[in-house]
């Protein structure tokens, strides 16, 4: 039953890579049964993708005129104004509505709209905007539009409340920390690099540091750790503290608007915490793959058209799969303030995502490892300080200001180190064109290496189990990694 879930996702499109990576991790299972499952899930997955794609291509509503009330369910900044996702109240269909920067619309605003639905156009040959939106369930944009706001706070009261809290927290940060540090603060706490200017975003991608402003398993794990500590400090038992952290993670994921990466990170941290609570420590590999499988079943488009999903899935998998190896052979011997651990973790993540980045962005960062080593150890403390700044902003403004000065130091350091490193001409190199076959080849080699490492690991583990009665996994999870 276990392996059924693990190999459920619709693997037909994004090559065999994923399935084979999964396969290697569960090579302990019976191969024959596995192969059968792969066939089964392949056809299931193919059917899921096929039927969803059909809907996109049919575009049955193209050219139709819609008129009536619509609820704003999402609003985000774009280069020319705001992108609103509106839900037509009568048809219960979601549309993209592009409006100027002002006035500002937010979740729960009720609009009176009249427009013609058109298929979303790809303006740029490099970027498949149509499929990018399709994976969010948005097939049409609103053209020749007329709209006016007729009401507000018409959305779900609970969601409105939680979004309002986030806005207030962001406001509190903005009030006391200057830009661009303020934008970084918002990014590491809530995810999103939207607040940073193009130049700084470019610095981040040249140094391979964009992931600290994206919601990933990494920062949800930090939040979970802090919440458990807080729970215990408040006098909760460890079990209660874990419940407390679980609740906190759910709130957090909703708060940042339920992006795929946050849901995945939240689900994974959730599963781990749940396992800890029950005293049964699931392996994190299973948690990631289960999360990935469920999300792909719900939305098969993520696999091929959501680079964020691919990157975070592979990076987390990379860390989890290779960390036992690193921990045993490297970190135990060279404990240098956790730096060697950061190196090991960054390197494993990078090995796993390298071809995806090269394939999609035509560049790869050479300085990324150094940047990660210099920045990552500071991120948890920055997050904590920024969070305290945001909270104390409600209670006592001068304290919030004093904390802001403290938070400013690490944030300033992060921005400037990243800026300095992005200046090196060799910080990143452009890669002309990466072929799909190269990507496949790369992952095949990687899988081979992992199988070998796993085998060696297995032997060592057996020996150690006899010696200490404790395995690497227990060790790792008890550390909260």
């Amino acid at each position: 039953m276990r392996s059924f879930f693990e190999i459920n996702p619709s693997f037909l499109f994004l090559l065999l890579i994923f399935s084979i990576i999964l396969l290697t991790i569960f090579h302990r299972n019976k191969y024959a049964a596995l192969a059968a499952f792969i066939f089964f899930t392949f056809s299931l997955g193919a059917w899921r993708v096929e039927s969803s794609l059909q809907k996109v291509n049919d575009a049955e509503h193209a050219g139709k005129i819609f008129e009536g009330a619509a609820l704003v369910i999402k609003s985000s900044e774009s280069s020319f104004g705001q992108n609103l996702i509106i839900e037509l109240q009568q048809e219960k269909m979601n549309l993209l509505l592009q409006v100027p920067a002002y006035p500002i619309f937010k979740y729960g605003d009720l609009l009176k709209v009249a427009c013609r639905a058109e298929r979303i156009e790809n303006k740029d040959a490099e970027f498949d905007y149509r499929m990018y939106m399709a994976k969010e369930g948005i097939l049409y944009s609103c053209e020749d539009k007329k709209f006016e706001k007729v009401g507000e706070n018409k959305g779900n009261i609970f969601l409105s409340g939680i979004f309002d809290i986030r806005d207030l927290l962001e406001e509190n940060i903005k009030k006391v920390i200057p830009s661009p540090e303020e934008a970084l603060a918002g990014g590491i706490l809530f995810g999103g690099s939207g607040g940073l200017s193009k130049e700084i975003q470019n610095d981040f991608s040249r140094t391979g540091m964009t992931h600290i402003v994206a919601v990933s398993g990494y920062n949800v794990t930090i939040i979970a750790e802090y919440l458990i500590l807080l729970g215990i400090a408040l006098g909760l038992w460890r079990r209660q503290a874990i419940w407390f952290a679980l609740f906190g993670i759910v709130m957090f994921v909703i708060m940042i608007g339920l992006p795929a990466s946050a849901v995945r990170a939240g689900v994974m941290s959730g599963i781990l915490l749940w396992a800890m609570k029950n005293g049964r420590l699931a392996s994190s590999e299973n948690a990631i793959i289960l999360a990935g499988a469920i999300m792909l079943y719900i939305n098969p488009f993520l696999l091929r058209w959501d680079i964020g999903f691919q990157l975070s899935f592979l990076a987390t998998l990379g860390i989890v799969v290779s960390s036992p190896f690193w921990e045993k052979s490297f970190i135990k011997k060279h404990r240098a303030l956790g730096i060697s651990e950061t190196i090991a973790l960054s390197l494993s993540a990078q090995i796993f995502v390298l071809p995806i980045i090269a394939y999609n962005f035509h560049m790869t960062s050479l300085i990324s490892l150094l940047a990660n080593v210099l920045i990552l150890p500071i991120v948890p403390i920055s997050m904590l300080l920024v969070f305290l700044v945001a909270i104390t902003g409600f209670i006592f403004a001068p304290l919030s200001l004093a904390l802001a000065w403290l938070a400013y130091l690490p944030l300033y350091y992060e921005i400037h180190i990243i800026h300095i490193m992005a200046q090196f001409r060799w910080a990143s190199v452009e890669i002309e064109k990466v072929s799909v076959s190269f990507v496949v080849f790369y992952y095949l080699i990687l899988i081979g290496v992992i199988i070998r490492m796993k085998k060696i690991q297995e032997c060592k583990k057996q020996i150690e189990k006899q010696m200490f009665g404790k395995d690497a996994l227990t060790d790792r999870i008890s550390k909260g990694k």
Binding site: P100, A101, Y102, P103, I104, E171, K174, K175, V176, I177, P178, S179, P180, E181, E182, A183, G195, L196, S197, I200, L401, A402, W405, L406, Y408, L409, Y412
Partner: protein, 288 residues
């Protein structure tokens, strides 16, 4: 035990860090100089005049995010108040960035004319000014702004209250400001067209200045030869975006400026253009 020690250590480190920050603050606030920064905000205008913890911001470009980053760079991090914002006129490339500023900084006063615009940007900004309860000062000839260090800024134009507040040509009512600090003088002209430049010249107002921010990003409808002769600047600043679709600055204007023998600085080429004035007795120097 170990945890307790950790907490004590982090508390100690925090206190030391705070002490260092305070020391830097005290040291910096003694610094009595003044600076005038022409911010590179792309196609648009934004100028920051700063003395210690007092700031005047003339216009804000069109992009709030970019403006906030620029202000974060030039205003000390502990200073969360801008004393005065001046809107020269309600065009998006001058006021678009200002809305965001209200979310991040406390804004003491807003100086502007009665000029109106139908744009949503203008309306949103008006709403924000009311919501944040900033004092609104009407900009007309003769209004003076005094800094603690005896620097003084004076409104040159418009001469009187604007009658046709809904006029299409918002540029014609641009606020023109002259800043004097010791022997140094700066003239900021918004998007003022040549017709109004002539009006100022014919009124025999002292507009002679060392540094001139030319009107309307160097467009051909501004910076007439007569006006340039009256100002007699040694440096001129053109606040303009790289490869802008308007073709600013105009080549004729550049020729006119070169004929006057002035130094031309452009924000699209030099980035932020900073003048530092050490004290009232010394000349303001261009930093690079």
């Amino acid at each position: 035990m170990k945890n307790k020690r950790k907490i004590i250590y982090s508390l100690l480190i925090s206190i030391v860090a705070l002490a260092i920050i305070l020391a830097v603050l005290i040291f910096r606030s003694r610094d009595g100089g003044m600076s005038v920064v022409f911010l590179n905000v792309g196609q648009g205008d934004s100028i920051l005049i700063q003395h210690g913890s007092q700031q005047i911001l003339i216009d804000g470009g069109k992009d709030g995010k970019l403006l906030l980053e620029k202000l974060g760079k030039h205003i000390p991090f502990w200073d969360r108040k801008i004393e005065l914002i001046i809107e020269t006129h309600p065009d998006a490339d001058h006021i678009g960035g200002l809305i965001e500023i209200f979310r991040a900084y406390e804004i003491g006063s807003v100086m502007k004319t009665e000029m109106q615009s139908q744009s949503q940007t203008f309306k949103t900004l008006e709403d924000v000014i009311v919501k944040e309860k900033s004092e609104v000062i009407d900009a007309t000839h003769g209004v003076k702004i005094k800094f603690a260090n005896k620097a003084e800024a004076k409104v040159i134009f418009p001469f009187e209250e604007i009658v046709d507040v809904d006029a299409k040509d918002t540029n014609a009512a641009s606020v023109v400001l002259k800043l004097n600090y010791g022997e140094n003088s700066f003239l900021f002209t918004g998007d003022l067209p040549s017709e109004q430049e002539a009006e100022i010249v014919s009124n025999n107002i002292d507009i002679r200045s060392d540094v001139l921010k030319v009107g309307h990003h160097g467009s051909k409808y501004s910076s007439s030869a007569e006006f340039l002769q009256a100002v007699k600047p040694s440096d001129v600043i053109i606040s303009v975006g790289k490869n802008n679709s308007y073709g600013h600055p105009n080549q004729d204007v550049i020729q006119r400026l070169l004929k006057q023998g002035v130094n031309i600085f452009r924000t699209d080429e030099s980035g932020d253009i900073i003048y530092e004035c050490r004290d009232v007795a010394s000349r303001c120097l261009l930093q690079n």
